[in-house]
Amino acid sequence: MLAATDIFTASFTWLIDDWGKLDTWIVITGALAAMACAIPGSFLVLRRQSMMGDALTHTVLPGIVAAFLLSHYLKTTGWISTDPADPHKAFDATSYTFMFGGALLTGVLTAILTEWVSRRGGVENSAALGVVYTSMFAVGLLTIRLAADSVHIDPDCVLYGNLESVWGGSDQVPRAAWVSGGCLVFNIAMAGCFFKELRISTFDPALATTLGINATLIDYALMGVTAATAVAAFESVGNILVIAMLIVPAATAHLLTDRLWVMLLLAAIIAASTAAIGHVMALSLPPVLMAPFAEQPLLSGVPIDSLDASTSGMMAAAAGGLFVAALFLAPRHGVLVRIGHRFRLSIRISAEDLLGTLYRQDETSRDIPLQTGRRTFAQRYATWRLRRQRLILHSSGQLELTAAGRHAARKLIRAHRLWESYMARHFDVPADHLHETAHKVEHYLDPELRDQLAHELDTPDTDPHGREIPDD
């Protein structure tokens, strides 16, 4: 393990000059915490309970405080022994046990309370969540203040995390890495063991219930695990930024795939890379951004290279960046892909419409006005492309079909008129209403469907308007 971190460190040294072991441990701890969060987070995203993640990261506060108070009380009364080497150590195994227990309980309690307020009180769900979590957080804050002499919890640390102080400098694996890693293993084991149950209750709770799976129990268990994960992670990434690690990688993965296990895997990979990118950004971005202002009095006396930002903040920013990238570039659900798809479709429809119009013009030897008003970009592009494909010709100020163009146009006209005949036969539509529908459907009838239509209509020669239906 330690040798591996040396290799890791070496591979980053070319990127940032003074990359040290501390940086490596920061990335590893951050990555473990983020991956641990990504697993329950994926289920939250799919179950549309993302804001529950936000609420849970707040409501664990009273649970932690209560756990601390309890373990403190038990230690002072001597029920459990303290670490003989350091009796005032805040974080030992007992505290951790109590803390996770408290977090689990408050997670479940949040879910139950929200459910109760929203169902019995008839309060809308997100409002119920808001009422419950702000109240519980307020209780936690008050308790911290009231019990300040027995508990030493720094709200700043709870809220922002302090990834930078994760490693003490000894040759040991840092404690936060152990905790986050343990949580990650636990989450993987839980997701693996109850994969089927989780999947069914996520996508179809009613089906899960009929199959004898207790969807409510799974819901509460998920909330408990999420809360415990939040506690494990907040030491490193901070309480409020836990929600970034819960939701953003999972949402990014959701944009990239439609399969649950792929989504979990992708979310974990994205989460891990978020940690690396985030730390590199935290080290390298501030000097780059502030460099133009180096002469300003604002930066006087501050060496520009010494500026760095909080890694957990930058991890959230990096996760956001990856999300935006996926939003635009995702292979199936990305914005760019859909825009491209739509554009290609509009080009095809414009081209086919032009071919159809020219065909009808030849047929009736009448000038049909091609297009009144301004032509769209898609129409102009379609004309250009048809000419390049030698389907139409531009001669003496007129567009004309070539032989190949005529062949292509026949298919379209055939589809159009077959559909008109079909509509006339099977639907009670007046003759002057047939064209509109056929004009839309004609672009989507493939040869097979055209043949099927012709067969069904006993291979008609003319459409309901009396015009000839061309052969393919």
Binding site: A138, L142, D149, D156, A244, A282, S310, A316, G320
Partner: protein, 521 residues
């Protein structure tokens, strides 16, 4: 095709008649705020630190003992003798009122958590505004209006991002909210850590945007909050009908040509305004709570939008007052958290006692309903049981022959699947209501009991006959349907039914049962 703009011919629903009243409200609020925000008699220009607690990040915890406040302190606080107390109370009350007002619309639009997102998303705006001013005018970075302007822009950008993500991807609303909240907040934290490393960036003044420093509120802060609250109330009053439309039927509004998207944005801008001004004085938690809890509590008391808005504003102001008073009485209670818990208290009270939707009134209504249904069931059973004996009975001295027939309780039991204890409960209750009378051989109906029994049985049979005639339901299936409906038939509906059915049973006050009445059916 452009949407048709609403014209004078479109009937606009009159939701709120006394619009001028609502417009007058902000001015009524503004007057005391001007008076109270004036420096106290001792002439403090700046608030002095007093026994009002510091915020959550306060460090002066030398006095650790819990202490009950003395009478002087209580009266000082309640009468707002201290300048500081006055400022803090006034600021939080104004914020509570404003947040309650705009929160009502957000609650009804099921967007309660937008306030949460806005307050988190404003952080990078504050940091960027600070950096920008420091670069342009060194040393002036802590100018509050500019910081708030930055926060406003970032908050609005956050809202637009959620709308964009929801619109252009498969990501659902809740996830979009969570993404914007966390990513913006992360960027904000990253910027703050950079600022902290700068020589001028001793961010004590900026840190308070996260927790808020309720206790160190200044009269300028109160003025700003007051301004935001007045703006919120004025815009809500002016656009009350439009916001109501947005809350209840956005599609309808759009189909009538209302600019719903713009209205939505105006509403969001109001939320951003109130959240941002509240942020720097009372902190994120309190802003979020103030936007959600009072409206959610108000919902229990009324079904009308106008009264709900007013109640939410009042509850917001009340919980701010209560929380402010308690936190200034007890040295270690931080104001933000106590105000939230005061709001929670009001929420719980409303949840229990709210007249429209509260658990207790609803339970009471259900209980009295069940009692009424039990009485109806008993009376109808008695009528059906005694009806065949009417012809054979001798007309007695009393007016109603039905009241002369005596019966035993066992006869009733044979016709209903009631337990003996339930029957005796029903009989006792009916006796207490003056509908029944115990006689030596059992029971008999009183005159009023007989009248009501006739009424119930008639309603039942009218509905049965109606079902048979018009809903084409077989006679042996109508009894159960009629059993459900007979308890809620209004008198004018009964007369309508009578009209409809009288075609078949002319001149009959009491139609015969359309199906055989046998014991146990």
């Amino acid at each position: 095709m452009s949407p048709v703009r609403p014209t004078a011919t479109v009937v606009r629903p009159v939701i709120f008649r006394h619009r001028w009243l609502a417009l007058a409200l902000p001015f009524a609020l503004a007057m005391p705020s001007v008076l109270l925000a004036a420096p106290g008699p001792s002439g403090h220009d700046h608030p002095v630190p007093s026994q009002v607690t510091t915020g959550t990040s306060g460090t002066s915890l030398s006095d650790n003992r819990f202490r009950w406040p003395g009478w002087n302190k209580i009266s000082d606080t309640l009468l707002m003798r201290q300048y500081n107390t006055r400022i803090v109370l006034l600021g939080s009350i104004l914020l509570g009122i404003g947040a309650g007002t705009v929160g009502t619309f957000m609650l009804l639009r099921k967007r309660s958590l937008v306030g949460d997102v806005v307050s988190h998303a404003s952080l990078p705006g504050i940091a960027m505004a600070f950096l920008a001013i420091e670069l342009a005018y060194p040393g002036k970075g802590r100018s509050l209006p500019v910081l708030l302007f930055g926060a406003l822009l970032a908050g609005l950008l956050g809202v637009l991002c959620t709308i964009g993500i929801r619109r252009f991807s498969r990501i659902k609303e809740d996830t979009a909210l969570a993404i914007v909240l966390s990513v913006f907040f992360g960027i904000g934290i990253a910027l703050f850590t950079i600022i902290q490393k700068l020589p001028t960036g001793q961010v004590a003044g900026l840190q308070q945007f996260i927790y808020g420093q309720t206790a160190s509120m200044t009269s300028a802060d109160v003025g700003l909050i007051g301004l935001a609250s007045i703006l919120v109330i004025a815009v809500s009053a002016a656009l009350f009908k439009e916001f109501g439309l947005l809350c209840f039927d956005e599609e309808f509004g759009r189909s009538h040509g209302w600019p719903t998207t713009w209205l939505d944005l105006v509403l969001m801008a109001l939320v951003v305004c109130i959240a941002i001004t509240g942020l720097q004085s009372v902190g994120m938690l309190l802003v979020v709570a103030m936007l959600i809890i009072p409206p959610a509590a108000a919902r229990f008391w009324t079904d009308r939008l106008g009264s709900m808005t007013v109640i939410a504003a009042v509850l917001g102001g009340l919980s701010a007052w209560l929380g402010g008073v308690v936190s200034s009485l007890f040295a270690r209670f931080s104001a933000g958290a106590v105000i939230v818990l005061a709001g929670t208290l009001f929420f719980l009270v409303s949840l229990a006692f709210g007249t429209r939707r509260g658990l207790l009134p609803r339970g009471l209504r259900q209980w009295s309903n069940n009692r009424r249904i039990g009485r109806h069931d008993l009376l109808r059973t008695l009528y059906e049981m005694l009806e065949p004996r009417l012809e054979s009975s001798e007309p007695d001295s009393s007016d109603d022959p039905l009241a002369d027939i005596h019966f035993a309780s066992d006869e009733v039991l044979s016709r209903r699947s009631w337990t003996r204890s339930r029957l005796s409960r029903l009989l006792d209750r009916a006796t207490r209501d003056g509908l029944l009378q115990a006689v030596e051989s059992g029971w008999r109906l009183t005159a009023s009991g007989a009248a009501e029994a006739r009424l119930v049985a008639r309603n039942h049979r009218l509905w049965e006959t109606y079902l048979i005639l018009h809903a084409d339901i077989a006679p042996n299936h109508v009894d159960r349907d009629a059993d459900l409906i007979e308890h809620v038939l209004e008198p004018d509906l009964v007369s309508q039914l009578l009209e409809t059915v009288s075609a078949r049973y002319p001149q009959m006050q009491m139609p015969p049962s359309p199906h055989p009445l046998e014991p146990g059916t």
